[in-house]
Structures are given as C-alpha cells and as structure tokens.
C-alpha cells in the first residue's frame, strides 16, 4: 500500500465523521448544552460554597467557574469518546463498521483513523465551548488557546481509545447504559474536573488515591496547565501511557485472530 492511499483513507474517514456531525445538528447542540449547564448553573451555584486556594497553574484566587472550565473541556471529550464508542457499536449492529473493516488497509490504521476523526469532532466542540466561556468572562491567556490544542489532541485520543476498547467488548447497543454508569460517571466524578485533589483528600484518602490514578484526572490537569501556557510533564506522561495502553488493547480487541468479535460471532 502506498503512503498516498493511507492519506486518502484518513482524509475520507475524517471528512465522513465531520459531515455526519454537521448534519446532526441536535448532536452538536446537545454536546454543547451539557457542559454549558454545568458552567452556568452548577458552577454558579457552587461559587460561594467552594473556596479554592491558589494552586498551580493559577497565580491568583479564581472563581469556581474558572476552575471547572478545563474539567468541562475534558467532559466534552469524555462524552465524545463514549459517543464515538456508542456509534461504533451502532455501526457494528447496523453493519457499516464492516464496510470500514473490509477496506484494504491494516486494521490498526483504520481504527486509529476513526479515532482521529472522533478527536477532530471533539476539538471542534471544545473550541466552540471555549468561545462561549470567553464571552461569559472566563478568559485564559491568549497563547493558552493555542497551547491547549496538543493537550486536547492527546486527551482526545486517550478517551477515544478507551471508547474504542469498550466498543470491542459491547455487543449490543442496550448494554451501553452500563458504560454510562460504570465508566463515564465514576471517571468524571472521581477526578479533578470538579474539585482539586487536595480538597478530595480532605474528605477521603481512598477517593484521593482513586482520583489521583484516574487517567481522566491526568488528562484534565494536562488541559488545565496547557490552557494557562504551562506544561505538566507528569500529566502528559501519564496520559500518553494510558493512551498507548488503551489503544493497544482496543486494536487487540478488533484483531481478526484474537479479538472479541470472533468470540462473540458478531460484526
């Protein structure tokens, strides 16, 4: 296979995902409504009850809305990753996943391209959200809006890979509710998206440990630091490691010889 073939296929897969997303306006709006409700309602309500000490990357006291914003960017990507996973289960039930898998390219490349396409959609959502937050008065340094892009790429790939991995295990669409309850909610609430680690430690040592090792926390911290023009090496390394692990497991899950599909006998 020629490199040009790979490039054309990648472009085709990303274009299809973007077309689909833009054609489904309800999906675009609902993807934005969720974090906006958290920002305008939840964060505004908790503003007065949650006091936050100065901690990196912030250099002054900040409002709760400012603290929660990177967490909500992570939330957009988390839900998008799971949405992609849901759509893959749907595609598999509907058969359109087979049209992708029967293409004459290595399966790892096809799945990674699908992942990249999902991440492109999530980044589009994140920037629309950031512009609304900016209009609301939550402003990051100008360079932060650019610096956050690679962080969003990495966190998006990690969460997308997790979604891909889950989709290789889930046979039917109905089982997806379990993913919401057992993956998305625990990952989101046991993380630094809503409260800083030291605040969690004050309440429970166990929760603190769980939140600390939660890859979603690390992704949120990577985004948080990048949005303020800083690099968090520990969060970056951890997120990259989790990405590699999830991606390898997902590719194995879709492997024609060893994968889950073979055992389940489904497409």
């Amino acid at each position: 296979m020629k490199p040009l073939h790979y490039l054309r296929a990648l472009r085709g897969i990303v274009a299809r995902e973007l077309y689909r997303f833009l054609h489904q306006r309800e999906r675009f709006i609902s993807a934005l409504v969720r974090p906006l409700v958290w920002l305008f309602v939840f964060a505004a309500g908790f503003r007065s009850t949650l006091g936050l000490a100065i901690s990196p990357p912030y250099e002054t006291y900040i409002l709760y809305e400012v603290y929660i914003t990177p967490g909500l960017l992570g939330m957009i990507q988390l839900f998008n990753g799971m949405q992609s996973s849901l759509s893959m289960v749907y595609d598999r039930e509907m058969g359109s996943m087979r049209t992708l898998l029967v293409s004459p390219l290595p399966r790892w490349f096809l799945l990674s391209s699908k992942l990249v396409a999902g991440v492109a959609v999530s980044i589009l959502q994140v920037y629309v959200f950031l512009s609304i937050a900016w209009a609301y008065g939550i402003e990051a340094p100008a360079e932060g809006y650019l610096a956050v892009l690679p962080a969003l790429l990495l966190s998006g790939v990690m969460l997308g890979a997790l979604g891909l991995l889950l989709s290789s295990f889930i046979r039917q669409l109905e089982n997806f509710a379990g993913v919401m309850n057992f993956v998305i909610f625990p990952m989101f609430f046991m993380s630094t998206a809503l409260y800083p680690l030291w605040k969690i430690q004050e309440s429970s040592e166990l929760l603190y440990r769980l939140a600390q090792w939660n890859p979603f926390s690390q992704a949120v911290e990577l985004i948080r630091f990048a949005l303020y023009g800083q690099f968090n090496g520990m969060a970056c390394g951890y997120t990259a490691g989790a990405t590699a692990l999830f991606l390898a497991a997902a590719i194995l899950g879709y492997n024609p010889s060893k994968g889950m599909m073979q055992r389940k006998g489904g497409a």
Partner: protein, 247 residues
C-alpha cells in the same frame, strides 16, 4: 490476473463458536465470470463463511485466497480485490449518494479525479447519476441497493460478495438486481458469490454451492447438481440435500 487463478479459493475451512461447529472442512472455488449461488437453510454457516471471506475474523484452520492472494498472509492485497454488498444496508443515510461513494473510494485509495469518474460511470450504469446529490435517506430500498452495488464495484474488484442483497425488495427491484448481477458476470468477467435462500433468483448458467450444517453438500453447475440428485428442480435438490438433521 491469470484466468487460471480462481477469483475465490476456499480450502479446508473450519470454524467454531466455542463448542458449536459453524463450518467444517469447507472448500470450493469460484472462477472469473462465474456466478456462484450459495444456498443453505438458516444456521447452515453462510454468515460465518461471509465473515471469514471478508476477514471480519480469521479461521483457525483452512485457507482463503482472493485472486490468488492469501487473506491471512496478504490481507490488504486480497481485500483490495474484493467488493461486498452486505445483507444489512450499510450506507450513511444522512450523507448524499456521492458522499457515500467518495468515502468508499477514499478507503480504497482512489484519487479524487479517478473517484469522480468511476462514481459517474457506476451510477450512470444503474440510472442513478441524476440522484447523486440526494441524501440516501430519500431513496427507496431498491435504489439504495443499486448505490451499494455501485459502491462495491468502484474499486474494480475481481470478486463480488452478495449477502442476500434482495431481502426486502419488491419483485421488479429484485428482478432488476438479478439481471444486473448476471450481466456484470458476463460483461466484466466478474466472479460473484451470492448467498440467498430465494431459489427463483438462480439462473441456469449459475453454479451452486449447497451448504448445510457447516458442510458443503453439493457443488457444481445447476444442471450437474440436479442430475446428481436425480431431480428436476433446484427446490427439490435443495430439500433433498438439506433434509438430514431436520426435525
């Protein structure tokens, strides 16, 4: 490709879901220009066979070659020569006909220019070119099938797999589909493996593969299979070959 190399070659293929054997030592060949009908009752192993030939998963035993390329060892080259129409509709309903076809062309590495030429050619051949900018959702079942066949042919495959493509179509659409596929075999020297349970879709010039309980029960031209069973109709031959194991 040399005419002597079969478009599809399946040898000693076995597959099991846990303790349940779905395919047991299946073997057959489909030559270029041949329309091979795969007949079998529900649970005969047709879907498993299609999953293996499209490499959804690998078989632990046996060999599949498409145009001489091993599906396991040289899977990309083998899949590049394969076109598939799945039983379930697999078009994106919210995208236009042309967008669906461009996506497929991209997966097969066709340039934009080449893709547009072939999209035009395949759609015109089936009278669908004027509808290229319509969303697939707006098309009826027969027209969607035409688009799927156009899509499966875009990259000029050697072998076309059809998994019960006429399910859900009305009589005129079914007839048009059957005629078109037979015409493709003749005019393009295309090999077709067509899974169906509708006996009236079988032409006299077709070959038959009868699958039952994971094994090939008969293989040959229609008249050869009928002669072998000593019957006059495909329906009678089918019932005789698949009677074993029936309650």
């Amino acid at each position: 490709m040399s005419a002597a190399v079969p478009a599809l070659e399946v040898e000693h293929l076995s597959f099991a879901y846990g303790p349940r054997k779905a395919l047991d030592g299946v073997g057959f060949r489909v030559q270029r220009g041949e329309c091979a009908i795969l007949l079998g009752p529900n649970g005969a192993g047709k879907s498993t066979l299609f999953s293996l030939v499209t490499r959804l998963y690998d078989a632990p035993a046996g060999q599949i070659r498409i145009a001489g390329r091993s599906l396991r060892q040289d899977s990309c080259a083998a899949l590049a020569r394969l076109g598939v129409v799945f039983q379930q509709p697999t078009l994106d309903l919210d995208l236009s006909v042309a967008q669906n076809l461009r996506y497929h062309a991209a997966l097969h590495g066709l340039s934009r220019k080449e893709a547009e030429l072939r999209i035009r050619e395949e759609l015109e051949r089936q009278g669908m070119y004027a509808r290229r900018d319509e969303k697939v959702r707006q098309l009826n079942g027969g027209h969607r099938r035409r688009v799927e066949i156009a899509r499966a042919l875009l990259h000029r495959p050697v072998l076309l797999l059809l998994d019960e493509p006429s399910v859900g179509l009305d009589v005129p659409s079914r007839k048009a589909l059957v005629d078109y596929i037979h015409e493709l075999c003749r005019s393009r020297d295309l090999a077709v493996l067509w899974a169906t349970h509708l006996i009236d879709e079988i032409g006299e010039e077709d070959s038959l593969i009868v699958l039952h309980q994971g094994r090939v029960r008969a293989r040959g031209m229609v008249r050869e299979v009928l002669a072998g069973q000593g019957v006059e109709t495909v329906s009678a031959a089918f019932h005789r070959l698949t009677a074993e194991g029936e309650a």
